[in-house]
């Protein structure tokens, strides 16, 4: 078993049985579902909107080279420095290089999953910089030294009590466990940092090729301040975030808000097109945009699953996923969790090591159904299963082969199959004595679940019986009504 698989199994088992965790997630998701569904009705045609969004992303992703070139050209035209990073290390080095050149001390960050992806905070802290996350949820998990729990709600697994405790411990400032007061603690603490910080780092939700702009969606205003006050601004953005035209935002901004949080529009949707321009009151003197590949081109090369690059990270597929809701965000052990994470992680980080995520799904299709850009998520999970067991990716394990060698002759022979079913009925009576114990061969299942009994009558037996009755009936001159 790969290390990520071991971690997944252990955590999944622990979290799924944790009733407290279950309660928190159910409450949070319950509230979300109600508003999200109201907002979908607010659209004149939500399904039509999904189609348009899917089409837009298809054009964006399938002409990525053109759009990316245009984006870079337009950004540069107004004084932005564009950097290209093929992998995480290059991206870290570029950013560390800028910090060194600017002789920075304090770095303030707004939410960026890409920075989690390249372990940027670690690298900056090791290099001696003070790094402060400014999104409230990110700030809380940073204080707890944890990764974010969810793409959109990083601290949704915590109660106000736990948040009060960490504020008390790390900041010595926690008047009560009232969410409003706790938010004001963070507000006070972070105000100082925006003003102090030499460099602000942000992520991006969209990159507009036509106008050369980075679009950032947020509710708190932390990204606005990160982009306004420090002298240098850096945006780290995955190359797949490109949208061709400015007007595409008219569709994507409300769709992201509806699916992300159930809002009509997120509080601040802001486009940055460069450093402070002549005649402007403020803004950074320098603006750097780092375009990150980090295996995205590998996913792009898979024509079947290329659409997964259209993901707008709204988190909706996580919210509806029965697996996510049971095992929680940290169990995945990945930056991107839930269905979309299970689809792309094997591409980004290695199929064999991460193939177990393709099985972290009931294949119910709720993710595909909800995705605003119509990514075919659950089929991609199936494709990953197929690819992982393809002859080129190595043999299945000894036990798997043994099991199928025994199963095949039974399944191919009616008499043997019959016999096995009959034996099973007898066996299940005796199974009662050992059910769930260490010597139970089905222990993995029975420890926490009921094993459904084998039906009293098999289909074939029922069919035989039915045929006999109707034969009799017709020989009696009656017409079968069934």
């Amino acid at each position: 078993m790969s290390a990520p698989l071991v971690h997944f199994k252990e955590d999944a088992q622990r979290v799924a049985a944790d009733l407290r965790h279950r309660g928190i997630i159910q409450t949070a998701m319950g509230k979300y579902e109600v508003v999200r569904d109201q907002r979908k009705l607010w659209f004149q045609d939500w399904q039509g909107a999904r189609n348009l969004a899917a089409r837009t992303k298809f054009e964006a992703v399938n002409h990525l080279d053109t759009h990316l070139g245009e984006l870079a050209k337009n950004l540069e035209a107004r004084g932005t420095k564009v950097h290209w990073a093929s992998n995480a290390e290059q991206a870290r080095n570029i950013i560390l290089g800028i910090l060194r050149e600017k002789q920075a001390k304090v770095v303030v960050k707004s939410k960026a999953m890409t920075s989690e992806e390249i372990h940027l905070n670690d690298a900056m802290e090791k290099a001696g910089y003070e790094v402060v996350e400014s999104d409230l949820g990110e700030y809380i998990v940073q204080l707890r030294e944890e990764p974010p729990y969810h793409l959109v709600f990083p601290a949704m697994h915590l109660t106000r009590g736990e948040i009060k405790d960490i504020f008390q411990k790390k900041l010595n400032d926690a008047p009560s466990d009232d969410p409003e007061e706790l938010t004001m603690v963070a507000r006070r603490q972070l105000r100082k940092k925006y003003i102090q910080a030499d460099v602000g780092i942000t992520g991006a939700n969209f990159a507009i090729a036509e106008t050369g702009m980075i679009s950032i969606t947020e509710n708190e205003g932390n990204a606005r301040l990160t982009a306004a006050l420090p002298k240098t601004m850096i945006t780290l953005v995955g190359i797949e975030k490109v949208l061709p035209r400015y007007e595409d935002l008219a569709l994507f901004l409300p769709m992201l808000a509806v699916m992300g949080t159930g809002q009509p529009l997120t509080c601040y949707n802001t486009m940055y097109g460069g450093p402070r321009q002549p005649g402007e009151a403020d803004g950074p003197e320098e603006y750097h945009v780092v375009l990150l590949d980090n295996q995205r081109t590998l996913l792009l090369a898979d024509a079947e699953q290329r659409d997964a690059l259209g993901c707008i990270r709204c988190g909706a597929c996580l919210n509806v996923c029965p697996i996510f809701r049971n095992v929680g965000g940290h169990t995945y052990g990945t930056v991107y969790g839930g269905p979309i994470g299970s689809v792309i992680t094997p591409h980004l980080r290695g199929l064999q090591e991460w193939k177990h995520l393709s099985y972290a799904s009931s294949l119910c299709g709720a993710c595909t159904e909800t995705c605003p850009v119509k990514i075919d998520l659950h089929h991609h999970l199936l494709q990953n299963r197929r690819n992982a067991s393809a002859p080129t990716s190595g043999k299945p394990s000894f036990f798997q082969r043994l099991a199928f060698r025994m199963f095949a002759p039974v399944a191919n022979n009616a008499a043997l199959w019959d016999l096995t079913t009959r034996l099973g009925r007898v066996g299940q009576v005796m199974h009662r004595w050992i059910r769930g114990s260490a010597i139970d061969p089905a222990q993995a299942w029975t420890k926490t679940r009921e094993l459904p009994p084998i039906a009293k009558q098999s289909f074939r037996e029922w069919w035989e019986e039915r045929k006999n009755i109707s034969d009799q009936a017709s020989s009696n001159g009656e017409i079968s009504k069934n």
Partner: protein, 220 residues
Amino acid sequence: MSERENILTRIKEALSQEAHAHHGRGLPTVAEQRQVLPRVGATVDEQFALFAKNANDLRATFKLVGREAELATELKALSAAEQWQRVATHVGALTEVAVKLLGLPTLTTNEGYDKHELERCDVGISECDALIAQTGTVLVTSRSAGGRALSCLPPHHVVIARREQLVPDLPAAMALVKQKYADNFPSMISFITGPSRTGDIERILVLGAHGPKKLTIFCL
């Protein structure tokens, strides 16, 4: 080869295999967008009513004020209630009227300013580029609203708009930005939809996370 070329080459190679367009091809037209986006009434009155309703849902305050005198009364009432000591603003026809009415010490951001001083202001008064009926949004830019921080750092953001600035929907707002600034975009364009908020603690709504706790929109 530079990293730029490396990445672009990898993209080109990856794209040499064509993907199936399951949901059709071609960028949608604005008309297509309008068919799916939320409905907006055709008349200006309907649109103002919609803007007012949306602003209310967002916990912003929206007031249509007839004349300057009415604006003066409203502003003075706000100022007294919140005990404003210091006002931040930018150069502009509407903001100048407002600031004169208030007669308080004023920080004007246009020529650059001290961040600490802006942080000490009780209110940021700005103009805007448009009001969007569909979503209750105020559209500001670094050029129309005194830079990047004025509309975000002080605890109360007061917007003074003119009636003609109302646009029906998001596609109209996007078109307006492109038309107004196409040859020279401001470095920041922000769609502000309600006062700053967070739900990061138990998904409970708290206003004023990092940006303003209050957003007031006066429309002359």
